[in-house]
Amino acid sequence: MLEIVRQQMICIVAPGWAGGAELPKPLHDGLNAVLRDVAVVHFASIGLLPALTGDPDPQPSLVLELAVEEGFRPYDLLYRLVYHPGGAMWALFGSMIAPNVAEPTAQHKQQLLDKLMSWHSIADGGFVGARDRSVRQIAMEKDLLDQTRIEARKLKPKYGNDRTAFALALSRWAYANPDFGWAATAAPRSYWRGKGAGIGAKLAYPVAAIVLWFALLGIVWALPRAFNWFFGEPGRVGKAIEHAVTKTTECLFTMSWHGLLAFAVIAFLVWLFLVPLPAQFVSWRRWLNSVQQELDRPTETLSSLATYVGGWVIGVPLLLAVAACAIAYTLAPLAYALAPVYMHDVIEPKLPKLTGLQITLIAVVAIAAVLAIGALFYRLNRYFTGLSEKFFHPLEDDVPRAQQIHPSVERCEAELVDGTQHMFSLTELRGPQWWSAWCIRVALRIVTFAGRVFFTQGWLGNAPGIHFGHWHIIDGGRRFLFCSNYDGNFGGYLDDFINGAAVGTTLAWRWTELHPREPALAGQPGVAKPRSFPPTRFVVFRGVKCELKFKSYARDSMLPHLYHFDACNRTVDQINLATGLRDALFGERNGKNDDLIMRAIET
């Protein structure tokens, strides 16, 4: 399921680029023509990656980023591009395959295709904002939106403020227009945006897996009995097999139940601490907010330090203890099966014998204690304001205010100021690199999964405006490439991440750093001083919340593009609006659809 997302975002990193820092105009035009004709590529960008530090070959690598429609295997996509009669791919990469060959033969093209396949990497993780939409669909829906607005201007004097009649007239006009016959069918939606959008569909998979697991255990448990029923009492070997199967399935059955119960209890506790208790008790809510704020707090204050230390001294041991209890409870049936005497004689006497009432009382007392501590600190803060101010002293920036941006990056941003912005960010993996690569991959898979299944309406967490954002671990796990096509401007974009998807962004970037590097070519940015990603706490806190540090880090890691292709040049909101208009115009006539039509023509 994740591969289908990852395959939508491909980077081809071709080492040994011998060309210059600019691509000739005919090549730009050729690439544009090919990509427009193929009509499955949403965005394409070309940039130069500086040579790896210590690499004997100082030549940069050429990176081609492709953000494409869903469902393509890279081979099929590259095949289509390489064999396109326009020949732009050969013009770009041909000199790396067979220098001085202007007209490639079929064999040359196959060589190029094989080479591109060896150079390509699908995203290790990524997010697609305007999902389920093809390039052609976006173009057609844009046309529908534009035409509808023109028609609406004509009809406005007639219908004035009669919303329902106005919407009906527009709907009739759209139905009667043969150019929009394609729109009569509802805009296609993939499972997670369609039938699977509800929480029930999302829960169905784990529930089905659990049911199937228990059904499997039941069948295995019943098999020897069914055999006996059919063929009579078994022999000695048969009985031994029956005994082993019975013991094993019963043990697995009990372990599974224990595991489920432990999980349910932990889930209940998490829910209790994060949902009902903050809702019921102001002091608890305040304490919880304070803890999160202090863990995220980007400066070294006494309060954040105290929270951090408190986390290590209380939080981590508590979580470890809960996890240990859950594991012990889950594995207890196995221990009883393997060493029943030891468990009865040695372990059981050591376990406290508590009734349910006693356990409940302990839990209530613990919660009350935390509430009381929270309330006490709240009052202390109010009474001892001077001390409190020292404790929570104000934010101090530790980054020079004037961040120097390389002119080439600024030029690229200026070029795209009226369209979808683009960024390349190149960082190095922190040592040990295999560990960083593994952690990043795990984190990115989680982000990709969440984007695919939960964040289906164009927002990643609370971050809007991302068309295609993707991460690649390249150069054998040494470097980390981030490519993004987004709406708005760079500062606002990073703000969206900082405020809307802080955990995911910190998870993805915390294992990186910037090493000094020479520019790929003259006129390209390099890195003068080594930099680290802003420090994190407990893996997911802080990091990107150190806003200036993070922005400065991201800026320094950026590389300019030599070429950028945007098939649609629409913002995510515009794309969503056009799709919504299509469904509203050709859907049932009701207040919701009428509203949507009015909103679309007035936006």
């Binding site: 399921m1 289908i4 004709d37 193929v38 009509a39 499955v40 429609e69 869903e70 469902g71 393509f72 295997r73 099929d76 996509l77 289509r80 064999y83 396109h84 009669p85 007209e103 033969t105 079929a106 064999q107 093209k109 196959q110 999902r131 389920d132 093809s134 052609r136 669909q137 057609m140 394609w182 296609p188 939606r189 993939s190 499972y191 945006r193 369609g194 039938k195 699977g196 569909a201 169905a204």
Partner: protein, 426 residues
Amino acid sequence: MKLSTYEPDALAPGIRRLSYGLFCWLNRHIVVLRAAGALLRRWPSIGGPFGMVARASAVKDVLTRTPSFSNTAHAANMVSGDYLIGMDPGPTYTADRALVRERLDALDVPNASDEEAKRRIGILDSGDRSFDLIENYLMWVVFHAMKPLFGSATDAVVAGSADPAAQAAVDEGLQRQYMLEIRYVAGQLLAGSLATLDLRRRAETCGDALQARIDRVTGPIGTAWGVKSASQDIERNAVGLAWISHPVTVQSGALAVQELLGRPKVYEKLWSRAQSLKDRVWTDTGFRKDVRDHVLELMRFRPIFPLLARDVPRDTELQTGARQNAKCPGGGKVSLLGIAALFDPSVVSDSRSFCPERDWGSEDPLRYLMFGYGYRQCPARDHAVDILTSALIGLLTLPRLQLARGEGKAITYDGPLMLSMRMRIT
């Protein structure tokens, strides 16, 4: 020109892969389908409510009642636009069918297929002892036999350009690329709407590429065909002819050879006769007829379309062979187990035996059920059988053949299609 705007997968993750995997598995393990078909043939009332027919009489009935059971069921699987096979009868259908018949009359089979088969066999015989049946042999035999379909515009179609310089540069590499593209488009005909997204997308891309290729050369094609139709008519027919003619014949040939090699005694007998004929192997009419019968019998055991679907445009009834007809609500579909009909003992004597010389008597048209039945039967039926006969004769002139096992899988699949079939000359 049909432009593909893809549809994301609306099924829950895993469902499509599972169902398409099952379909492909059934296509490869035809014996299972035959067994299921035998059950439905024995108790037709089981399949009736599900719109499934298996008896020969019922299958023929469905295929001849074209207004009640429409070919438009194919339309969802045709990624490069409408064509004869998926059309309802009407003026366009009639005109297109006439054009296809005219183009088929231009074919020079079996002479052209014999010629290319001899040439390819010569190459294979002098090369190393292993080859890919599809890529090194069948693909080319069929391609050259079908060249007159586009006549003088063949190179333009392959090059995708009306420019003479580009056409002059056409080599086997380009021809191979063209044939690969049309293969993926044709592959969708087998339950393409059920296929996984990656296969659908590949087919759509190749369909787009094929249309773009034909779009650029409608002029030369019109000239070659000697027609003055509108360019969209030429394009529709050229695109359809391109993707349906070649890949389906190649796949049928590969399936026939697979079946033949699975019957060592049949192969041995046929091979011995071919070897004994020596130079007369290509000219002996008795032997050619015998090989042709073998081809048809092999195709009976492994038809390329063991399952067929038809749309039901309006409420009707289905004669399944049970006491009562099955209701077919309009807007639904019916499934035809052609494989079961071909083995129906009530019309095919000793149906389970491999018997090329069987006398089909009045049921002779049923012998060609793999090409459809009645008015909507494939118009290239006899041409395809002739081409495959040439191809098989060529293979029989080689020393003994066997599947190249032991170096990975001898046969690799791509969805329901055979991608390659590695053979070894022993």
